[in-house]
Amino acid sequence: MSDASFDNRPIENEAQFGDFFALLKPRVMTLVVFTAFVGLLAAPVSVHPFVGFCAILFIALGGGASGALNMWYDADIDAVMRRTAKRPIPAGRVTRDEAFAFGLTLSVFAVVFLGLATNWLAGGLLAFTIFFYVVIYTMWLKRSTPQNIVIGGAAGAFPPMIGWAAATGTISTESVLMFCLTFLWTPPHFWALALFMRSDYDDAKVPMLTVTHGRRSTRKHILAYTVLLAVFAIALGFTSIGGPVYLTTAVILNALFIKGAWDITRRDEDMSEADNFAVERKFFKLSLLYLFASFGAILVDSVMTRMGVML
């Protein structure tokens, strides 16, 4: 028997374990893990630590699996964009079929095991999140509407809701508001990025708002979503999971965020080009801090309540 049946890809292109891990979009996974963890811990029900650990792991794996399926479908776009050209599929280390099989298997595994470890509402929500991200966002709307970022944001907003459902077995006002927090945060975050990374999205022919409606309109959209986000973020402070730490953090962060969005709206392209999009870049960095600090504050309030510390 000859060796002809073996995979004859060059050695440097051999997929390593790390390449399959990269398919899970580990950087996005950190956000998923963190927000799911906050959702789980903020819930008014105590969860066994090992079950909690498993729940977060399966939510993260489900999120990662949807990332792998996204890379499978979007391999053509990824090859064009500078930011994504080194991903395992465009780099030739993993084939599209391998990524598809890997993502699909891991999706089923994550949903079934989350359902078994916690409850089937949490499992069902995870299954819906994967379906939403892969089918509704990646396959259908990403390439056809400039509102793609808004829709895609919904998928990233589910993890705290799943964490909450894993602990309580329910959906409540608190978990829906935590969903709204990430959902409304996503458009200003990504549109700010699109303002100073424009060539990437243009080259990939993804209908970003900056291209279809113009950059002036994008700036206005950023402000509108930021104001809307502030309303929901402050409202969350008046639910059972909001405490003094969250409320204080939310007031400060939303004031800064609205100020940043207002500054972006007042600028035109000439002003932005002149300082290499300094204000837009600053707003983008602030958006990263915004989400982690907001969920971090919910976590601090939750821990303080559990320990019986009252401010």
């Binding site: 995979d7 051999e14 997929a15 374990f17 066994h48 079950v51 498993c54 792991l57 078994l116 470890a117």
Partner: protein, 55 residues
């Protein structure tokens, strides 16, 4: 015809195979841990009333 014990493929896929092995070991530990916790909490206990109505 001479047969070599170690095909070049083994060397190429060493990292991947070790990673997969560790993943499977972690999966076993996870299922074992979940079983212990769930049995400890009595998740699998059948309600006595349900048992008697079933007879």
């Amino acid at each position: 015809m001479s047969l070599s014990k170690q095909h070049e493929l083994h060397e190429r896929r060493k990292g991947r195979n070790i990673g997969l092995g560790l993943t499977l070991a972690a999966f076993m530990a996870l299922v074992f841990g979940l079983t212990i916790v769930k049995i400890g909490r009595g998740d699998f206990q059948v309600d006595p009333a349900e048992m008697s109505s079933g007879n």
